[in-house]
Symmetry: C2
Subunit: 120 residues, 2 copies
Amino acid sequence: MGRLSELDKIKSCPSTYVLAINDTMNVLNGKWKLPIMAALGFGKKRFRELERDIPNITPRMLSKELKDLEANGVLKRTVHDSIPVVVEYELTKSGASLEAVMDVMIEWGLQHRKTFIGKY
Amino acid sequence: MGRLSELDKIKSCPSTYVLAINDTMNVLNGKWKLPIMAALGFGKKRFRELERDIPNITPRMLSKELKDLEANGVLKRTVHDSIPVVVEYELTKSGASLEAVMDVMIEWGLQHRKTFIGKY
DNA sequence: TATAGTGCTATACTTTAGTATAGTGGTTAC
DNA sequence: GTAACCACTATACTAAAGTATAGCACTATA
């Protein structure tokens, strides 16, 4: 109840909730963030692993997007001080919680494609 | 049950579900689509009304984004053949159903901002 | 008939996002 | 010692997204 009415309160003010939605969308913005998050959904991975798992991504973009995602607190970069160094990337709790958001996006996307292809 | 396992099946294949998520994100992509959808959340509006309600949008962008949104089937453009003509834009059923997706984005966005500001 | 509003479009430009290609400094395997 | 792998960075470019400014065809109002 308290939760629902809080959401309702926010939704009565577009400029506020547009900000909140933008916060969410910005985390996944661009061509490569989603594939990266998806690749990390199965567990921690190293830089070169990600580069191989995500077709056509360049190291430049991978590096940049990993930094963005880390800055947004949805993934964590760990440097193991072994020799040679091993660098691993994994989702944070916040990043993992994005899965719930992605789930509803998957459902809407599939539904939309169904009704859409039917019409046109 | 059938629904949940369908989602699970899709989620086991990243290339498929990344597509579905992209379908959803593309509908709201760019700087202006979300503000437009938000403005139409309260009911039908005319072109100039939208232009006034959305700060700093240019008619060029408004026109372009309205076309995109219409092409994506989330809003409908109606020309009333009165004199002078009145053009109205409103959400379709599909567009209105996006609200559920936006709701979870609002919740994640707010939660994320809370934990995030706490940390940095 | 001049002024203002509606619903746009056209042209030119800037800014941001993404690509292509090469290279660095370290490590290990042959 | 040279070839190859790791985790990137640097430079230069192209393409896409967004902005600025002006204008058009129409109607309504004074």
